[in-house]
Symmetry: C2
């Protein structure tokens, strides 16, 4: 009996599950937000994931429900669970990917290394935190941020006035998350996959480079990470996956500090941009592993096929050209590059695809990957 | 402007083009023979590829037409070309994949190494060939054979009487192909891809093991092939691709004889079973390369990701179980194995999927691949 995995959300993460599902002979069915989404090939319909009846009707046709994003409201998730539909990750875990204040509180309880943080409800409370932390801090909205949105460096208590006002108008109470401005050497990301029955596998920790709050480049494995940094990163991610009961893929974004600590920045409970290199660079991609994990199938090995992989995001440019339009030159100049188009309408700054190169020599890999990606710059 | 590749035929070869098309952001549209075919996810409709109007209507909606098989009749192919629709491979090349007598004659003209052969129209002519070749030979129908069908070892001129009778009743005249029974050490296969504009790339030559006329195992690269055998095989395939004007993928099945010759056995002008290892084992898979070639895009590199790859076909068993039904045990015991299900109804002897393992040590690779494939035996 073939299995069907239902994916809520039709973005590029759902899209990249389709090749893995085809190879495994698993049916994938996407509930897309709109017509023409990136994962439209596998979309049986369009529907609003905020609407419990829409999501229930979709979920009743599949064997397990998983996600392209973490925005499905808790009451909708709980309605699925109440009907006995397997949901991975489940609502109790997803809660911590949906709310950064709950995440910080829970990770602190678990004794995991996080930046100094506080929940602040007023500019006065923010002022206290600033005073205690050298006059600068990072303020984040607890919910709804991504790709640098909902994150702001502040130097004065009034710098977040608009967010405090919005919280007050929201009427639900609540607070902003304020964190110390971490003095980091670089950013890392650790991918792990966990089955409902408990098995966990980890990929090598990777280095991520952000530009304007958006992931720009990923190097796998992170250079000079073998040993302590790799062990610390894997241990942190495994403890989070187990501590929060995550099922499926978990990505943990980390800071490697200038004083050699590794601190947890953000979590994502799904395939994540920092793991795209695994499509070409690892025996098991994060997309295949996510499908295996949510179906509670045994997990694949996570080693690298070549010593180095570099992934570079392609952002849309102002001219609306797609990656496909520019393949002729890019492929001629970079025959080792793997091109991944999300088949999305190109808009300035929008992630429309990525390029990965794998090889023995990191300098050469980086040269080829950056060169190939440059053909798609607007 | 996204490109659309139209594929005639909805089998597993069309299916395995879909992941590559998704990654490249190329649209793929399949004209399937029936509902529920292996490539149904990309099928916009069902139609008879013998019917020129059906195929023309399909072809007008795509940028280039290619194939899952070589059975589209020449008049249909020529109607597409007459309308200016790009067809790769084109009818002038496909002719030689459709008719083994024409293929043997053309390869002989080109001076390529082939077994001794003759076109025989009567048992008496077959008898002469048998007498000249030690009393044994291989008789093949010129058209329609695959997976060992239409191929027979004969020792008497009467052993092919039924085929001679069928030819006579067919009324189109014609002949059978008779070939010397080659004394071979092993069978090899050489994949190349050629663009319409002429560029050609070759993968390493592979060793194939047949059972009951069906490909059972493929080892890439062929053991002990580096040097002369690899050069000969590549040279033969390149000369065939250029000599016959092949565009897209070409697979050349070869005999390595006990007296160290390399002879051409069969041709296929499409992705081929002997190239499935490239999905997991090469930087560029034969499926991605076929799409690049038929769109006349620059070709990707064809090196191996790991020193050895072994692909094993999974045949359907009598119990009707699918690969997916047996994943739990297979994946637990063989976490390095890559599983590929064609999502076809399981019937005894039918190719329903394959397993590939890549690694550094051929003995270990073979042990894991055979072990993983064994879980799916009926």
């Amino acid at each position: 009996m073939a299995k069907t995995v239902g994916v809520i959300g039709g973005g590029q993460l759902a899209r990249m599950m389709i090749p893995a599902a085809l190879e495994l002979g698993i049916t994938i069915d996407v509930l897309a937000e709109a017509e023409g989404m990136s994962a439209r090939l596998a979309a049986s319909g369009v529907g609003d994931y905020h609407d419990v009846d829409t999501v229930l009707a979709f979920a009743r046709t599949v064997d397990v429900v998983t996600f392209d994003h973490e925005h499905v409201p808790q009451p909708v998730l709980r309605a699925l669970v109440d009907e006995g539909i397997p949901v991975h990750p489940g609502p109790d875990a997803l809660l911590y990917a949906q709310d950064k204040l709950l995440m910080r509180a829970r990770l602190s309880e678990l004794g995991l290394p996080v930046p100094d943080w506080a929940a602040v409800e007023t500019p006065a409370e923010l002022d206290v935190f600033l005073t205690d932390h050298g006059g600068r801090a990072v303020v984040k909205t607890a919910r709804g941020g991504y790709d640098g949105k909902g994150v702001r460096v502040v130097e004065r208590a009034t710098d977040a006035d608009d967010w405090f006002t919005a919280l007050a108008e929201d009427g639900n109470g609540g607070a902003l998350l304020v964190e110390e401005l971490v003095d980091f050497r670089r950013e890392l990301a650790q991918q792990v996959a966990r089955r409902p029955s408990g098995d966990i596998v980890a990929w090598p920790v990777v280095e991520t480079v952000q530009r304007d709050g958006i992931c720009a480049e990923v190097v796998a494995p992170a250079p000079a990470s073998a040993g302590r940094v790799a062990e610390l990163s894997e241990d942190i991610a495994v403890r989070i996956a187990e501590g929060l009961g995550v099922t499926g893929m978990l990505a943990v974004e980390l800071f490697e500090t200038t004083d050699d600590r590794v601190l947890v920045n953000e979590l994502a409970m799904r395939p994540h941009n920092s793991g795209h290199w695994s499509i070409d660079g690892s025996t098991t991609s994060q997309f295949e592993q996510h499908l295996r994990a949510v179906l509670d199938l045994p997990l694949g090995v996570t080693g690298t096929l070549r010593p180095w992989s570099m992934m570079i995001n392609v952002l849309g440019g102002p001219d609306g050209a797609t990656m496909v339009d520019r393949y002729a030159e890019a492929m001629r100049e970079h025959p080792t590059a793997k091109f991944h188009s999300y088949d999305k309408v190109s808009r300035p700054g929008r992630k429309v695809g990525h390029v990965t190169v794998c090889g023995d020599d990191l300098d050469e890999v980086a040269y080829q990957a950056r060169g190939a990606a440059a053909f798609f710059e607007g």
